[in-house]
Symmetry: C2
Subunit: 349 residues, 2 copies
DNA sequence: CACGTGGTTTGCAACGTTACAATAGACGTT
DNA sequence: AACGTCTATTGTAACGTTGCAAACCACGTG
């Protein structure tokens, strides 16, 4: 039971119960610890033959590297922090996106760590803490703002990060974004095809860069098609559903009410459909709705609406790729991805 | 620029740029490293006066403990792994739940790590890997099955875990569950109040324990109220929406069609409402629907349905509490939480 | 005045890994 | 035969923390 190790170095069997370490493997292979470390890291300085032999022995012994020791030694964590805002990210967004990131990181040894970015008052505090405690090698966040303080902080400290969405900073940084301009143009074009004359965009948010892109794309399309486009002010994605419904109602009450709606997300779509239902308006007759679909739940919305898709799983995968690129020092121009919308699709199922 | 440290021990200033360590603090305070370690860990062996003094110095120097070193030394990670199935958990479920867990763990120094539990073929492999690589101190998973292989494995290896949902194992283990029996009884009772005669439960899954509870509760309620309850077979939560709709349609086509529906989740509710809409059935007239509400999106469903709430945020918080309890060795009977449904509520907004 | 007795504090030795400088062979060149 | 020049491998020393055994220091006691 308590067989003690006597030899300090030459014990090839030794520690019966605990996990094998580099030393165990080295003893078994009759080489130095360093050699094993290098061999397993595919260091070219180790001869192919010994490399193979050591790999085989390590496999046989069931050796797994101790992450904590690696972290201590190298200072890198192999962890990526995903910042989530628990007040906002209650939607399917998170999971699809997460799944994609996970796919993209699988096999790389990187783990994803969830961090809520604003349980306290100061969301920067969370990021500072990640940096100071070395909790992650890189940070990802969403709902990027035009002059995002998080991005500014991370740029200043040269800490690897990737944003979902662009910023308006002069300094380029890695991002993955959805082409919301194209999205809104497509949405409006589709509604124009259907003969709609006055289109309401529900509900971009000026604060976020993607809101700016939506506005810009909407204005472009309005000019191109010579038609009316309304973007309600003082109300946005983050507003209470009641407020949003009230705004839509007010807009509808005026003369020249919208007869087409482009919804920028799934909650927006649900709210819009609820509004139409409450007002007794019929989709496809009185008005038409086109919405961004980012998850399968859109398929079940009734009345059916047409959708233009944002592939969040692909977004997550792209995010992972960009992250890995950032950490291996790829040039920033290769780390800026703009994903295109697909559609419009009529929901069939 | 390259000022070298000369003294090995007595350098109180030294390393200008890098993070202060225990040694730095010790040097500054003129005490041993061990003393600092103990002082910061509130070890009673350190005199109150020195403890305070050291704490103050540590604060001033901006000392933060190196997690990697702590992990290496203690063997504990301060990480909790949340297993998610990327094929299933695409819903708001995840985020609300996550938010709650995060709240519950905030201030404890524990981080949440996301792990997809079945990107490969074998979901146990993921868990083995967590155990073998010491990637986490505890594991959380959802969609618990009656004889869950994950739970069995973790029980066998005495690895801390908490399930969302119960199992049928004899060995008790920590869990947090929602009282689905009570939920379905409430749902049926409400439909009975509304004069409904034949109720369909959409769509529990036999495989999961919660499906069993739903069935059991439904049968109980059926007997109590002397009414008909149908639980479609061969189709469940995880089925394709098309199949589910087809089943509902088939059921509706038969004589004695259901006139009341209890939906066990938000997707189920959306699918049911879509089905009703497609069939031209009017909620509140031809049929009534009661659904579990687990996130704010239910509020926007139209036609409005009554809901019975599962508070996922509270679930997450309870989860965190149970986890902490498990890791500090609390008796298992204190680590079994059954949360009650609230409602029924008529959606107002 | 020597002597335990507690409460405090100290040094040392790990934990498992990797970076760095050094060394041992093998081999062709002068 | 002595010399450099590779290439493959080795030892040693950290990284920052905590557990353990030992030591210190008043202080009251016999």
């Amino acid at each position: 039971m308590s067989r003690k190790n006597l030899g300090t170095k030459a014990d090839s069997v030794g520690a019966a119960q605990s996990r094998p370490t580099l030393r165990t493997v080295a003893a078994e292979a009759g080489v130095a610890v360093t050699t094993v470390s290098r061999a397993l890291a595919d260091d070219p300085r180790i001869a192919e033959s010994t490399r193979k032999r050591i790999a085989e022995i390590a496999r046989k012994l069931g050796y797994v590297p101790n992450r904590a020791a690696q972290r201590l030694r190298t200072g890198r964590t192999r962890v990526i922090s995903l910042l989530l805002n628990p007040r906002h990210e209650f939607l399917s967004f998170t999971s699809e996106f997460l799944g994609g990131m996970y796919e993209g990181l699988s096999g790389t040894g990187y783990a994803i760590n969830i961090t809520a970015d604003s349980l306290g008052d100061d969301r920067l505090e969370t990021i500072r803490s990640i940096r100071r405690h070395s909790l992650a090698d890189a940070i990802v966040f969403t709902r990027t703002e035009c002059f995002d303080d998080r991005a500014r902080y991370l740029l200043e400290h040269d800490f690897p990060f990737v944003t979902h969405g662009r910023t308006d900073f002069m300094t380029p940084h890695p991002f993955v974004d959805f082409d919301n301009e194209a999205f809104v143009r497509m949405g409006i074009a589709r509604l124009v095809e259907k003969g709609r004359k006055h289109i309401c965009i529900v509900m971009p948010n000026e604060k976020y860069t993607f809101g700016q892109h939506l506005r810009f794309g909407a204005r472009q399309a309005a000019t191109a098609h010579g038609m009316r486009v309304t973007i309600p002010e003082d109300v946005d994605l983050d507003s209470e559903p009641d407020e949003i419904a009230a705004t839509l109602r007010a807009l509808h009450a005026g003369s020249d009410a919208p007869d087409g709606y482009v919804c920028v997300g799934e909650v927006s779509a649900l709210i819009t459909l609820a509004f139409l239902s409450d007002m007794g308006l019929t989709q496809g007759v009185d008005v038409d709705v086109v919405a961004k679909r980012a998850s399968p739940i859109s398929n079940h919305f009734r009345p059916r609406i047409e959708t233009i898709d944002e592939d969040l799983r692909a977004t997550g995968r792209a995010m992972a790729k960009v992250l890995l690129g950032r950490m291996s020092g790829a040039p920033v121009e290769d780390l800026q991805v703009l994903l295109q919308p697909e559609g419009p699709f009529a929901i069939s199922s």
